[in-house]
């Protein structure tokens, strides 16, 4: 707890430097403390494992790990797949966001709705369904007689295959961040550009793109960091291809279980953390030079007319959706319906046995749904509540401390879930001072989720605070509204769309998250991700697919509920609504 003490010592200095010196302003800084404890302390704890050998400070682990060629090979592979994947996400997500938010394409709500689905499918399921889709034993392709011949190589078992799936998986992240940003562009700024004679490409490149660059940069950074820490896809595709990335290297080390495993994993984790921090630091550097506060009234959405090209654009959008959503989903459904894995599916032999089995025979499915629902909704709600004031402090009252925390909270998200899980176990197996163990309860999973997904909830909110005309808040201040009131009456409603987008992202990512809970679960406390993984691992691929199909159905049902309630919610809260 030495670090906590240091933090406390640093607080008064920061407070006198801030503009307001009221107690409510000071209170805001205390918010940084739980954030520090939950999301930074576990990592610090893990880092200790890397720099102490048998209780003595030593750089042995560093020398071993950093001196090994395998480490650098895996680093290069990670950078390549995450980088290429980010570009793919940016292209797909960016194109969707721009077209849906700014032009007059039809059926926007449906497009957005469908575009959200790929990210709700857990990465290893995505990988599984694509492998099943494209490989020689593809249930779907075999049903049409289009499967490649037995024995031919699986094209996805390659660096580009990993990057492609990472790109598809994380396109929604770029999409959501960018779209929240696009909603806030006042119509006048684009209309002014059009009157100035900007049209077509010039309008896009010189006005719309720079205006949305904060969202683009933020989305890109987030997609990159997510791709960097992704385990499911490189594990399913990279291990068979003998193409190690940092997360799979860590996994293999853990599976090996030597005496030095924790130390080496700790060093590798620091390496991933360092790369993620570099990425995020570049992102902050880029954003620091642009203060694109959007002035003027937000409200009326834009509708750039596509004219004759509209049908073409719509066709391309839907075709892309079919390729990235419908086809793998079909593959997944096909797998869940076959009587046994590898059997050719046709209209005579499909069966719902697997669904019957997971729903009514095994009690763990319902329990896992319950647990995952509780955890993901809890994390989403909790994080939004924390993120509004936190984003406020970070954006409006930046100091050295907030900037540091801003970088560090990225680490739990960028680390592979397994590593975060180990860090949490190390710290919470016996909490110092109060001597309680969280291990073996849902609580430890919950805390790990809070640590991991803080960034997802925080970034969109920070982004929208950056773009708010500060006069809106100042006007409330002049009216006598203190900080709490301003947050509640002015900032919260204006940031609600991005906060909701953030909450939804947290919910969707947490709902079928696997890698964190894989180490933290215990009997009775299993999550959906764990359930699917365990089934798949024990050879019950068909049952695993059935659960995955159920997960997607439940999420679609939940999204539909939001859709029905959307008329009563403030405008922009439901991300796929226009």
């Amino acid at each position: 707890m030495q670090a906590t003490g240091r933090l406390r010592g640093a607080l008064p200095g920061i407070m006198t430097r801030s503009t307001g010196n009221r107690s409510s302003d000071r209170l805001l800084y205390w918010l940084l403390l739980p954030v520090f404890v939950i999301s930074i302390l576990p990592i610090v704890r893990l880092a200790f494992e890397g720099v102490f050998v048998g209780g003595v400070p030593s750089l042995d682990y560093f020398r071993d790990v950093l001196g090994s060629g395998a480490t650098w090979q895996a680093t290069a592979n990670s950078l390549y797949t995450a980088g290429l994947g980010t570009i793919i996400s940016l292209l797909i997500g960016g194109a969707f966001a721009f077209l849906v938010a700014l032009t007059d394409v039809r059926a926007k709500a449906a497009l957005v709705f469908c575009f959200m689905i790929p990210m709700m499918i857990p990465p290893q399921i995505t990988a599984l369904s694509w492998v099943q889709l494209t490989g020689p034993s593809s249930a779907l392709l075999n049903a049409f007689g289009m499967a490649p011949p037995m024995g031919s190589p699986q094209p996805l078992y390659s660096a580009e295959g990993i990057a492609l799936l990472l790109g598809i998986q994380h396109a929604s992240i770029v999409f959501l961040t960018l779209r929240a940003n696009l909603r806030m562009i006042p119509r006048e700024q684009i209309e002014a550009a059009r009157l100035a004679g900007a049209r077509g490409g010039r309008l896009w490149w010189q006005i719309i793109l720079p205006l949305t660059s904060p969202g683009l940069i933020a989305g890109t950074a987030m997609a990159f960091v997510t791709a960097l820490g992704n385990f499911g896809i490189p594990a399913m595709l990279g291990i068979p291809a003998n193409y190690p990335t940092l997360p799979t290297l860590i996994y293999q080390k853990l599976a090996g279980f030597g005496p030095s495993v924790l130390g080496e994993v700790s060093v590798l984790a620091m390496l991933i953390g360092a790369i993620a921090i570099c990425g995020v630091a570049i992102h902050h550097r880029l954003l620091a030079n642009r203060d694109y506060r959007l002035m003027g009234m937000v409200g009326r959405p834009l509708d750039i007319r596509l004219g004759a090209r509209r049908s073409l654009v719509e066709t391309v959008l839907w075709a892309a959706l079919i390729a990235i959503l419908v086809v793998p989903l079909m593959a997944l459904i096909a797998t869940s319906l076959v009587p046994a894995f590898g059997v050719k599916l046709d209209f005579t032999n499909f069966s719902f046995d697997a669904f019957n089995q997971v729903l009514f025979v095994q009690p763990s499915t319902i329990r896992a749904f319950h647990n995952s629902f509780l955890l993901s909704v809890g994390a989403a709600v909790m994080l939004v509540l924390v993120c509004l004031p936190l984003a406020y402090v970070m954006v409006r009252k930046p100091s050295k401390l907030t900037k540091l925390i801003n970088l560090l909270i990225e680490v739990p998200y960028a680390l592979p879930g397994v590593v975060l899980a180990i860090a949490c176990i190390l710290l919470f197996i016996k909490i110092p001072v109060i001597e309680i163990s969280l291990y073996g309860t849902l609580g430890i999973i919950f805390i790990a989720y809070l640590a991991r997904f803080l960034v997802i909830a925080l970034r969109p909110v920070m982004n929208s605070f950056t773009q708010l005309d500060p006069a809106l808040e100042e006007a409330a201040q002049a009216c006598g509204a203190g900080l709490g009131r301003r947050l509640r009456d002015v900032l919260l409603p204006l940031a609600a769309p991005s906060a909701a987008a953030g909450a939804l992202l947290v919910f969707l990512t947490a709902f079928n998250e696997l890698t964190v809970s894989a180490l933290l679960w215990s009997a009775g406390n299993e999550t959906l991700g764990v359930l699917i993984f365990n089934l798949d691992d024990s050879g019950d691929t068909v049952l695993a697919s059935a659960v995955a199909v159920l997960v997607v159905l439940v999420v679609i049902a939940l999204m539909s509920c939001f859709q029905l309630a959307s008329r009563r919610l403030p405008k922009g809260v439901v991300p796929w609504q226009t």
């Binding site: 503009t19 010196n21 002049a478 009216c479 509204a481 409603p493």
Partner: protein, 361 residues
């Protein structure tokens, strides 16, 4: 109750000094206009008073209470200053209706519903927006939005009202109505008003005193008529009124604050700035400020010139008459004049001041 005192305020943005050693004393109930060219620091000064910016040096006090003093670490936050402000960019909350926007200060103060509604509808009536109460700000025109912002400021009856170019978006007719509304409000409540504008006619018409700003300095703070008749320096003389400033030599100071100035081939009588008269080196740096209404065409007058330009202003003409290579005089005339026509000019009044004052600061 709400006199505002600024002493030696400096505000820097990075290396740029937006305000430099500004001192300003505004007494309770006074209506002060801040006048100056774009970018001179008016908004910055206003934001310092409101508490949105912290001064780098200096002290600000409101009603006797020190609200900002970096040397002593004092900084009272804006919400505790009870000042009303109208922003250049309206700053209406897009998620609230017009009436909620207007009523928000009362809501914050915990006023009950009935009183609040009454005050809201009064305030909306003042700005003639009664029928728009339930609209959202996005559905209003620019001028209407500005009026909502005004109503929001007036409704809380603040001890001082800060207005940042509040009428910039209104048409001439509405602008006059609103000016009257401000003056009425000022008379009724006796609140201190600080009014930023770059429209000097507006400043002259409304303010008790005007502070003319330039490049982060206050050049002169005086009643409108003083500012007009006796500008302190070149910048003020040129910025206020449609006059012109001529470099002159051959000044002879007489008693009683007057002097005689050589202009063309003749001499005219003018008032002289006491500071300049007593400074001794009067002939190197004197300037003559002439207002067009003090100069008129008189065919036999000894001061001769050629008409360079003639503009109809409605009711009268304004001529520019060149009397020699470096001197052009503004003149009001009752009839149109041909360009190039020779005319005689009679100068009834002028103001001689230190042309170089303030230039080095």
């Amino acid at each position: 109750m709400a006199d505002i005192n600024l002493s030696r305020i400096t505000k820097c943005f990075g290396d740029y000094r937006a305000l430099n050693q500004v001192s300003l004393d505004i007494s309770d109930g006074e209506f002060v206009a801040l006048l100056g060219p774009s970018g001179c620091g008016k908004t910055t000064l206003l934001r310092l008073m409101a508490g949105f910016e912290e001064p780098g040096e200096g002290q600000i006090s409101i009603g006797g209470q020190v609200v900002a003093d970096p040397a002593k670490g004092v900084m009272v936050s804006p919400e505790d200053r009870n000042l009303g402000i109208v922003f250049q960019s309206y700053a209406l909350w897009p998620h609230m209706s017009v009436s909620r926007n207007v009523g928000y200060p009362l809501e914050v103060r915990g006023m009950n519903r009935a009183d609040r509604d009454r005050r809201i509808s009064e305030a909306l009536d003042i700005v003639a927006l009664g029928p728009y109460a339930d609209r959202s700000p996005a559905e209003l025109s620019g001028g209407q939005r500005q009026r909502v912002a005004l109503a929001r400021c007036l409704v809380m009856e603040p001890r001082a009202v800060l207005l940042d170019e509040p009428l910039a978006n209104l048409d001439v007719h509405l602008r006059e109505t609103m000016q009257q509304a401000f003056l009425d409000f000022h008379r009724r409540t006796g609140a201190t008003m600080i009014y930023v504008t770059h429209d000097q006619a507006e400043a002259m018409a409304m303010a008790d005193r005007i502070a003319v700003m330039d490049k982060g300095h206050i050049r002169q703070m005086a009643a409108p008529e003083t500012l007009y008749r006796e500008p302190a320096d070149h910048m003020v003389a040129g910025f206020v009124g449609a006059g012109s400033v001529l470099p002159i030599t051959g000044v002879e100071v007489e008693n009683g604050g007057t002097c005689s100035v050589k202009l063309g081939d003749t001499r005219i009588a003018a008032r002289v700035c006491p500071k300049l008269a007593s400074s001794g080196h009067i002939n190197g740096q004197a300037g003559l400020c002439l207002r067009p209404e003090d100069v008129w065409v008189e065919d036999e007058a000894p001061l001769r010139g050629k008409v360079e330009d003639c503009v109809y202003l409605g009711g009268r003409f304004r001529l520019s008459v060149r009397i020699d290579d470096e001197h052009t005089l503004p003149v009001y005339a009752n009839r149109r004049a041909r360009v190039g026509e020779p005319v005689g000019l009679k100068v009834a009044d002028g103001w001689v001041f230190d042309r170089l004052a303030g230039e080095v600061a």
